[in-house]
């Protein structure tokens, strides 16, 4: 089972990404998945978490996620007040939306760190700095847990018609910008 944690801000679509990933991996990817937000009523702007679990077997575990294979940070300012590397498994992956380089973050753990200037892609493709689908495309590319096509289908199912195409584009751009990058 693969466990993924998303860090974002209330209202910025972090959980939507977690959910899209689960949807893509399960309904359109033939696996089983779970997605859930950090529980509770988080106000817009507050630090919120999202989780995705993916497995080839039905997932019966309903306890919270403590150890993760991948952690995705949608807003790097969150890293000032929170240790986003918490619980990442040995050899796991940390993906940060940042214009900086991975080494700039000086992560001491035995994990892979990857950065992507998702804000820029989002501004370019979507016209707004909402990076959730960009990061979704990136994690798909980095890990191969879902096919691009499954992500597209998930977006088609969940997003409003007027923003579907733009978001698929965002996924695609991110995906392509990563593909070929060796981890």
């Amino acid at each position: 089972m693969i466990e993924i944690r998303w860090h974002g801000r209330g209202g910025h679509g972090g959980f939507t990404a977690a959910r899209l990933l689960g949807l893509a991996a399960s309904v359109y990817g033939g696996n089983y998945a779970q997605a859930f937000p950090s529980f509770g009523p988080e106000r817009r702007g507050a630090h919120v978490l999202g989780f995705t679990r993916i497995d080839s077997q039905p997932i019966n575990d309903h306890s919270q996620v403590y150890n993760c294979d991948y952690v995705i940070v949608l807003d790097e300012t969150l890293m000032e007040t929170f240790d986003v590397t918490k619980g990442i498994k040995e050899g796991g992956l940390l993906l940060i939306n940042s214009s900086k380089l991975p080494q700039d973050f000086n992560i001491q753990k035995n994990i892979k760190v990857h950065t992507l200037n998702a804000g820029q892609i989002a501004e370019e493709v979507l016209g707004v700095p909402i990076v959730n689908t960009v990061m979704l495309g990136a994690i798909a590319a980095l890990t191969g847990i879902v096919e691009l096509d499954a992500v597209y289908q998930a977006i088609d199912e969940v997003m409003a018609p007027e923003i579907r195409d733009r978001n698929k584009k965002a996924v695609e751009v991110a995906y392509n910008s990563i593909k070929g990058v060796s981890l």
Binding site: G45, H47, T77, L78, E80, T81
Partner: protein, 98 residues
């Protein structure tokens, strides 16, 4: 002179240290709100007429008026931009954080 966050707030370490039932001292802040902010309001003190509109309307009450200059408590300002928007002289600028 805004309320201050309690640095190194000590959570109860034993059941004796727990509040008695769900009631406690009022006005305890252990967490600041600056992390909510993407934009930072900056007052151009020169232009400011001290009309106090920003002071009055700030939803978080983070602007001080009993100080020589209006001061913003950036620990608790959420960067909503209301002060800047309502300032009749457009004296407050919202600057990008970080």
């Amino acid at each position: 002179m805004k309320p201050q966050v309690v640095k190194n707030y000590q959570f109860p370490q034993s059941k004796e240290q727990m509040p008695f039932g769900p009631g406690s001292e009022a006005g305890v802040l252990i967490e600041i709100n600056s992390g909510w902010r993407n934009l930072r309001p900056v007052i151009n003190q020169e232009k400011c007429t001290r009309c106090l509109i920003c002071w009055l309307l700030c939803p978080d009450g983070v602007i001080s008026k009993d100080t020589p200059q209006l001061e913003i408590d950036y620990d608790f300002c959420k960067g909503c931009g209301l002060c800047a928007y309502e300032c009749p002289r457009k004296t407050i600028v919202m600057e990008k954080e970080g």
